[in-house]
């Protein structure tokens, strides 16, 4: 029960951070953390299938896509700034 409350708090915290932190890269990393915490929550909810999928797709693949996009964005910015 306590663990669930803590996990819920961590989920909310990471979500708010991912949405508000000024640095995009940091935001994406926090989002991946959020995804992994979600996987944990699913495990707590007796949903191991979702936990697996969340870790692989929600955190993993989404994270990879988003990180790639941030990289792309930075590359663009570098190209334009000099």
């Amino acid at each position: 029960m306590i663990f669930d409350l803590l996990l819920a708090a961590a989920l909310l915290w990471s979500a708010v951070q991912a949405l508000t932190t000024p640095d995009l890269f940091r935001a994406v990393v926090l989002f991946i953390v959020f995804g992994l915490l979600m996987a944990l929550a699913w495990a707590r909810l007796d949903a191991p299938d979702i936990a697996l999928a969340e870790a692989a797709i929600g955190a993993g693949l989404s994270g990879a896509l988003l990180l790639d996009a941030v990289g792309h964005l930075r590359q663009k910015r570098r190209e334009r700034s000099p």
Partner: protein, 106 residues
């Protein structure tokens, strides 16, 4: 109050965060993050509410699996569009003037 209900409430809060972010954040990448947070919130409500008696329910779990796949599909398409926009306009945000067309005095 039991664990599934805690997660359902957390899901409700995440939905609200996500919707708020989706509407207020200007940067498309953040909008996409917000959409994913919103989606996770919905999934938690779905499973949390259904399992509030403590018994696992495979039906909403299967639905969430479907939902996760749909979410990644939408995320990827959104990212592809955002990148196109970046390449064409140099910005990863939606231009404002199109919303401005929606005014009578233009």
């Amino acid at each position: 109050m039991n664990a599934p209900l805690i997660y359902a409430l957390t899901g409700a809060a995440l939905f609200v965060f996500g919707v708020t972010g989706l509407m207020l954040q200007a940067h498309l990448l953040r909008k996409i993050l917000a959409f994913n947070v919103m989606g996770s919130g919905i999934f938690l409500v779905l499973v949390g509410l259904a399992q509030r008696t403590g018994i696992p329910d495979p039906v909403p779990q299967a639905m969430v699996l479907t939902g996760i796949v749909v979410a990644i599909a939408a995320t990827a398409l959104a990212l592809a569009l955002a990148r196109q926009l970046l390449d064409q306009s140099g910005e990863m945000r939606l231009p404002e003037e199109e919303a401005g067309k929606d005014k009578l005095d233009v």
